[in-house]
Point group: C2
Chain length 125, copies 2
Amino acid sequence: MANDYSANVPIYLQIINEIKLKIASGEWKTGQRILPVRELAMQFTVNPNTMQRALAELEREGLIYTERTTGKFVTSDDILVSNVRDMLAREYMQSFFSSMQKLGYNMGQTMKIIEDYVTKYKEGK
Amino acid sequence: MANDYSANVPIYLQIINEIKLKIASGEWKTGQRILPVRELAMQFTVNPNTMQRALAELEREGLIYTERTTGKFVTSDDILVSNVRDMLAREYMQSFFSSMQKLGYNMGQTMKIIEDYVTKYKEGK
DNA sequence: ATTATTGTATTAAGTGATTAATACAATAAT
DNA sequence: ATTATTGTATTAATCACTTAATACAATAAT
């Protein structure tokens, strides 16, 4: 479940991305309470301070909020979540095409590779 | 030219990727001599030690080699370079589809988004 | 022969990320 | 009322990355 962190990016940033994906994908639903910091830290096998840092940043971005001693919750702003999902998807795509371009693939060549990949996928490989 | 490093990944790793792309794309040709460590360090605006570390790793991977006091060169192994290029392209693609899947897009939905993106690109946006 | 250029190694200092060990305030649960 | 649970803050120690300042050996250039 946890602990496949790249040694090369600060853990708290990797956690931010991971949780952002959970919220954007709907795996963590809007308005839903999330586990206490200490338990999340255990689940992710990191120090509570590190988890706290990640959650504080996500709160700064508006994706979660805190009720003083009750706990933390996913935002109830469905539009925000939807926007984040769209933005992430666009980022991933642009980053992908940009990398392929640096490798020397133009857009047509990149499309060709994608189509081959998808074809093989559909054949169950 | 340089100095747009993400604060979140060690610089020497970013340099490794950058140079690997240059070699894989053919921007740095096989067999070609590369600039001295000190000059590359200046071009990339990093410390010579940091550049040396990146180059040492690239040498370990076989992408460059050193002639004692003459300098460093891109490998002459065209097949290796071609393989690296193919591997990188595959990695980028798989990573992209994996991220999209985590966002809740299945392969068909991802293809739809790609096609829209490419269409807009062709219209010159 | 001498000089300049090449890669390489060493030592020291500064910075940020991470863990660890606590502690505290507010409130929900008993 | 008391206790447990919640988020949060603090201090210290460790580790990797990065820069800086040198120094050295081998060889190409002069």
